[in-house]
Amino acid sequence: MSDTPASRPTPRRNPEWSKTLFAVVFILVVIAAIVALFWQRQIGDAWSRMFGTERVQTGTTHIEQYDYGFHPRHITWRVGDKVTISLHNASATHWHEMMIGRGFDDTPYVVGPVHTQFDQDFWDGVHVTMSHAFKVDNFVPNKAIVTFVGQKPFTTEGGNFSPTLEPGGSLDLTFTVPNKPGTWQYGCFVQQFMHYVAGMHGTITILPAKT
């Protein structure tokens, strides 16, 4: 419509933009998008494996649970250090747990095995102090030796060591890193392994004790 300003009669810049710049940026962005789409997690994991091991965490490790993932996804501890996991469920709607272990404990199912929990429980025989429990739906100690400070959550039996937090729940687990060096997994198996499938898992690297 003609209530718009006229165009500048002599343009102040050359509209023939560079083909090379366009092509290079376009191709780079497409490659970056494809790489991010298919290998985002692998690249993140590889990055942490390469550069994360130097950053040994002592003291308190904050772990946030959200739909569906852990933040951070990689933790490095050293055997013999006294550490605290400060676990917080940041989801507004979902219950989440945190198991640590290796391998999978499978239940056979018509479409193939369903991983119900880890095969080997990291917490077996570990002395743990649980404190600041808030909105903990249930807690399965399994074979860990647990001391409760403050309010004791509802404890139950069955399966690996796992605290299950309600939305907004949190707790602290203080323990001395046991002599189980190597790579461990942590994950949430709630809703028949679907949280794990959706990406709610991470890795712990435990370095051998300093000699």
Binding site: D3, T4, P15
Partner: protein, 202 residues
Amino acid sequence: MAGNEQKHPFEAEPWTIIRRPAISELTPRELRLGRFGAALFVISQAIPYFVLVNVRWMLAGSYIPAGMNQWVGGLLPTILLVVGILFAWLGVHANLEGRKGALQGWFTVNVLLGVAAIVILLVALTTYPFNTLSHYGSIYVTCLGTAVFYTIVSTIVMLGVIFRSAAGLVSPRTPYGPESAAVTWTFNAVAWFALYLALYVI
């Protein structure tokens, strides 16, 4: 695509629309076209309000929680927006009579009304007396959020007309800008009035 490239590779694209001596007068046909486009846009944007009112009924029936503040989030923004309809059209008429100052004046008043309505709606969005984890609560905050969004849009459109008028782009012969701004404002006021009725009265 293929044929003409060899002839004038560097010639710029001819735009019949904006390569025209600008700020001339709008032909009656152009004005009708603009009005029709604005009307189609308003019709399309009225549909989300139907959805909101419907969802409000499907979720919460005619339930209204006790202790609602009738003024904040209810009557006050309604009054501000509805009064603004009058001012908006007064501005449009001022423009048609060539009184540029009056156009800018009425529209400035409307911008202030719009800002006041946005602030009051935002206050209401933070002080409601119920939990959003409820049927009524969730649709209530959604409706208020929608109202805030559209009020921001119609206020910005008003503001734009003031700028355009100052830049000399609005005249009695190019009345489309103020008119479409007034249409947008009226639409927002009426649509919010419907939401107000659905949320507070019925």
